[in-house]
């Protein structure tokens, strides 16, 4: 029997359920088959007209259709798919009653153009339509449901009701590290002994014209629209930006002790988590890579391991020139001579950048990578970047023996989080 507490005397935290939805499909089975086959979920956008846009591709989840579509409704629907799969696998609690808190990574919420136009029409104004007109229309009381739908706590509240989680649901945003932060908060709550179980979820359904334009104006997106499946090219010399995508990932975390006591199947262990913020710039990493290096080292130390123990890295790997360069620099510094031998691959080459969801989507894939002892590739790797001397598992999946894996997540605002997952308790 493995120890119930880790080297630091904290409860060991295990994963007993996980769920996944991406543009490749709903559920882990379909996703795993397609990820290990090197398939891409990126396609031309059909949800809205893309005339006049520089980027016209994305990893939208088109098999979930909510009319009228809004980012919070889509986020809620995607999260429900992932949570249902995770809870069914964990066989925890009862229908509509999860025995622990909810930690939800979700995009910031905002009234969208559909609603603004609806209000503008209702106001009767035709010239110089202003927010005073919109406010007057809102004051009619006819649009009351929009208050709850577009509140920042909207998706978390809805999911807390649907799944009957305990206590105050925490909705969080650490930009593109959000999904990892949700798992981190669950890990910490169980380690504190506050709860035996936590539902950690990340979701993003925010692909609309404005969100796409916002990233486009920051020159963050790939503009290689044709063919869409070739656009996301992490670690390649010709990489030209990330591809926006939607999806959700969910994990049921439990103390090893509680999971064992109820006879749950242990899928893996959240062995450690590291974090370190970057104070250099709003969108760029410190050129010396120190915050990312420190983040990785914090994660490895938190897991009670050394860099030599790490067998695989699930990269943040966005495919922007900046991210991949800095991630390579940090991984090289932390792993030292082993850097060129430790496989590192980017799921984003296939599912795109699921933004707020990415940290959890990729943690679920990392867990499956450990479970199957098989590494999904980095696809579209055709033009190697001579400055990135890493084994990026190019284009084809590969079997490997792995005990410990890291999942990296870095985001705007200097957000850096790394998770260390283990195949089984030490």
């Amino acid at each position: 029997m493995s120890a119930m507490r880790d080297k630091a005397g904290r409860p060991v935290v295990v994963i007993t359920g996980s769920g996944l939805v991406t543009s490749l499909g709903a559920g882990k089975t379909d996703n795993w088959r397609r990820l290990t086959a090197g398939e891409s979920g990126i396609h031309a956008i059909t949800r809205f007209a893309t005339e006049g846009l520089k980027t016209r591709i994305a990893g939208t989840v088109d098999f979930v259709t909510d009319e009228p579509v809004s980012a919070p409704k889509m986020a809620e629907s995607l999260a429900e798919i992932a949570i249902e799969e995770a809870i069914a696998q964990a066989r925890i609690g009862s229908r509509g009653r999860f025995p622990g808190p909810l930690f939800l990574a979700v995009a910031p919420n905002e009234i969208e153009w559909l609603q603004r136009e609806e209000l503008a029409r209702a106001s009767g104004a035709n010239e110089g339509i202003s927010y005073d007109d919109l406010l007057r229309a809102a004051a009619s009381g006819r649009f009351r449901p929009y208050h709850e739908r577009f509140a920042f706590g909207s998706v978390g509240e809805a999911l807390a009701v649907t799944f009957g989680t305990e206590g105050s649901p925490i909705s969080l945003s650490t930009a593109c590290a959000s999904g990892a932060s949700a798992i981190q908060l669950g890990l910490e709550a169980i380690r504190r002994g506050e709860t035996d179980a936590a539902l950690c979820v990340a979701t993003d359904g925010s692909i609309n014209a404005e969100s796409l334009v916002r990233f486009s104006l920051l020159s963050a997106l790939s503009t290689q629209n044709d063919p869409p499946e070739g656009a996301a090219k992490p670690f390649s010399k010709n990489r030209d930006g990330f591809v926006m995508a939607e999806g959700a990932g969910a994990m049921v975390l439990e103390s090893y002790e509680a999971a064992t006591a109820r006879g749950a199947k242990i899928l893996g262990v959240v062995a450690g988590c590291g974090e370190l913020a970057d104070s250099f710039h709003r969108t760029r990493s410190s050129p010396d890579g120190k915050p990312i290096i420190g983040c990785l080292r914090n994660a490895i130390a938190d897991a009670g391991l050394t860099a030599d123990d790490i067998d695989y890295i699930n990269a943040h790997g966005t495919g922007t020139p900046e991210n991949d360069k800095m991630e390579c620099l940090a991984v090289s510094a932390v792993l030292g001579e082993r850097a060129k031998d430790v496989p590192i691959s980017s799921n984003k080459s296939m599912v795109g950048h699921t933004l707020s969801a990415a940290g959890a989507v990729e943690a679920v894939v990392t867990l499956m990578t450990l479970e199957h002892q098989r590494i999904p590739p980095t696809i579209n790797y055709n033009v190697p970047d001579p400055t990135i001397v890493l084994d990026v598992v190019p284009n084809t999946a590969r079997d490997a023996r792995m005990r410990y894996a890291i999942s990296n997540s870095f985001g705007f605002g200097g957000q850096n989080v790394s998770l260390v997952l283990a195949r089984e308790p030490a």
Binding site: H147, R192, G411
Partner: protein, 394 residues
């Protein structure tokens, strides 16, 4: 990890609102019953505008200020005040391992651009291509960063160097309670030694009024205290920034930091808000924080119904305690309201007495005797119920 919860002190507060900035200005204004409202700029809605603030004092680089919308400037400014108060400003070693949890809304928009697009959309047949073209041309790249919820924390990292950790919670009042609760729980349990927690709001925003106007929550008409709004319920949004430096007592002692007060307990919950649930939930939380010997309640009541009436019903079951609803004076800050009220409670126990009441309804009564413990309430206008207990340090 530790077996017994560690004592947690408040070693710094940074507060700015319509009443001014800092503990002294707030104490004096509350004693005097000052209310500063703006009734014309956003008519018919009443808001509490931010007092004139020289942002240069905490955000010295103009380039940094230009990268922020007002809500981020207010928050970054208040965070700087809190770090100053805790004696942590400029201490790179300390800031490099200081944790941070920010409760944030976000989404500040370019109203002129939105208005022009909405007007234009009424005149074209091909609406989507028109929208694409206008967005590509009219949105400022930097505005996106000023809209992102986590970029208040990002700006605090950049301007003040807080980098130990950075987490942003969203979800109105509840996010504000959770920011304080999680920061507190991490210190209590030994996961953290020192943390900056809080948030900010700019109330002078029509797009934020719009979100609340869907449910007709914005206060209009004659201004009354939050207890006196009865048939005309609602909140007057208040611009404010509020940050606390929470610290383990051992850590504070070791670096010679002077505490304002002890944060003894934080608890929160969510209810579905069926009739009576807020009152019942507050009762359960009250037992959890066990405020024996408390002499006052700093209430975050919003003025929105039925939440305010339900909180009032609960408070009425403790008639011995003097209540002060700060929302009457500073307005409703949503995310930062709870951290603000914890700060005001800390200031009150530090003074050893409660500030005066100016409540015309008579619900708030005069406080008697020395104040050593104060309870803080945070009942969300829609969801979330929270309580904290703040104690004087002998």
């Amino acid at each position: 990890m530790v077996d017994t919860p560690r004592e947690t002190w408040i070693t710094g507060v940074g507060i700015v609102s319509s009443l001014g900035e800092g503990p002294d200005a707030h104490w004096q204004a509350l004693e005097a019953g000052k209310v500063h409202i703006e009734t014309t700029a956003h008519a018919p809605y009443i808001v509490h505008p931010l007092a004139p603030t020289n942002f240069d004092l905490q955000i010295p680089k103009k380039g940094d200020q230009r990268q922020m919308e007002p809500w981020q400037r207010i928050g970054t400014y208040a965070a700087g005040l809190a770090l100053d108060g805790a004696g942590a400003k400029g201490n790179a070693e300390l800031l490099g391992r200081m944790d941070m949890i920010v409760a944030a809304g976000g989404g500040e928009r370019d109203l002129a651009a939105d208005s022009a697009i909405l007007t234009g959309l009424r005149k074209v047949a091909a609406q989507e291509p028109f929208l694409n073209e206008r967005l590509m041309n009219d949105l400022r790249p930097t505005l996106f960063l000023a809209q992102l919820s986590n970029l208040l924390a990002g700006n605090i990292s950049i301007v003040h160097g807080v980098t130990g950790s950075s987490r942003t919670f969203m979800g109105e009042e509840g996010a504000g309670v959770d920011a304080v609760r999680i920061g507190f729980a991490r210190i209590q349990s030994g996961q953290s030694e020192i943390a900056l927690v809080g948030g900010a709001q700019n109330s002078e925003r029509k797009e934020m009024l719009l979100l609340y106007e869907f449910a007709r929550h914005n206060l209009t008409g004659e201004f009354r205290s939050v207890w006196g709004r009865g048939e005309h319920p609602g909140f007057a949004l208040g611009s404010m920034g509020a940050f606390l430096v929470l610290e383990s007592s051992d850590h504070a002692r070791a670096r010679g930091a002077k505490p304002l007060a002890k944060l003894a307990a934080v608890a929160n919950a969510r209810s579905n808000r069926k009739p009576g649930e807020v009152t019942a939930t507050l009762g359960a939380l009250w037992d959890k924080i066990a405020p024996t010997g408390a002499g006052a309640i700093i209430s975050g009541a919003t003025g929105v119904e039925p939440a305010t009436a339900e909180e009032r019903a609960f408070l009425a079951s403790h008639p011995e305690l003097a209540v002060r609803a700060t929302g009457t004076h500073i307005g409703h800050g949503v995310e930062p309201q709870f951290a603000m009220n914890v700060a005001l409670a800390a200031i009150a126990v530090q003074h050893g007495r409660l500030f005066a009441t100016h409540d015309a309804t008579g619900f708030e009564h005069a406080a008697e005797g020395a104040l050593t413990k104060a309870v803080v309430t945070g009942v969300g206008h829609w969801r979330g119920e929270g309580l904290a207990l703040v104690e004087k340090i002998d």
